[in-house]
Symmetry: C2
Subunit: 138 residues, 2 copies
DNA sequence: ACTAGTGTTATAGTTAGATAGTACACTAGG
DNA sequence: CCTAGTGTACTATCTAACTATAACACTAGT
């Protein structure tokens, strides 16, 4: 497990998104145990306090549940997970479209650019694209 | 002129992107004078040192040129501007597509989602894309 | 020369994020 | 009871970003 960190964004936020992506994409299923504070800290070479903050925020967003002394687990409320997925996708979409418009691209240009990018990336469009086969579709 | 700042990203980077967007979209033309350090600082309610850092970075990227005692001006090398535009668009595109893939969307889904978003936003697709020459901030 | 407007530099202080290290509290299993 | 593994809490220190304030240097116009 490893993450490419962007120096311009707080680490704890990047790890939050990393975990959320794993949940939303199905790599982590509802009820699954997530790594412990110390384990993930050692894994990512990050201070345990930073991981602790990450998990506290995830708990605040009701993405994970804590059982003291036992560990943390992915929420079992799938509706919550779907909501998070929608929220993250909506955010990505908005940032992209709005950003492209600000650069001066017209909506038709944007569609064309996405089509071309996807066409040039065809290999990832085949079935069985994900090794674990756990991509929840909407 | 005003910007909604995102607390999770350094202000000087956000202002950099703001200026670059204005240049790339044509709101600021090659050779145009850009606001002075003090003027923009007062305008955005930001410390002049922060603006100075913003402009120094823009200069380092050869987006603006400095004439000491006179002010700063948008580079007159249009090829440089086109390069920046391509770079910024490429970054937006990559973040979007890669991000959506990480959320579990397949390439076809992504195209569909963009098409739908654009369709629901038709008013901005008409010709004469820059009505007043105003590019909204976010 | 003077002035206004510009870029430039410097010092000091504040805050958020991250680190290092330690200690305490809870739970399951032997 | 004891231990290993878990979450939690606290203090101290460091750094980047930002602020506040001041001073200096250059240029054009008068």
């Amino acid at each position: 497990m490893s993450i490419e960190f962007d120096n311009n964004l707080p680490i704890y936020l990047q790890i939050m998104n990393y975990i959320k992506r794993q949940i939303v994409s199905g790599l982590l299923q509802p009820g699954d145990k997530i790594p412990s504070v110390r384990e993930l800290a050692a894994d990512l070479q990050i201070n345990p306090n930073t991981i602790q903050r990450t998990f506290q925020e995830l708990e605040r967003e009701e993405v994970v549940e804590t059982k003291r002394g036992l560990g943390r687990y992915v929420t079992s409320e799938e509706s919550k997970i779907m909501a998070i997925k929608k929220e993250m996708a909506g955010e990505l979409l908005h940032q992209f479209i709005h950003g492209m418009q600000e650069l001066g691209f017209k909506n038709q240009d944007i569609v064309t650019i996405v089509k071309e990018a996807v066409a040039a990336d065809g290999s990832k469009d085949r079935k069985g694209a994900h090794p674990d086969g756990h991509i929840a579709e909407s």
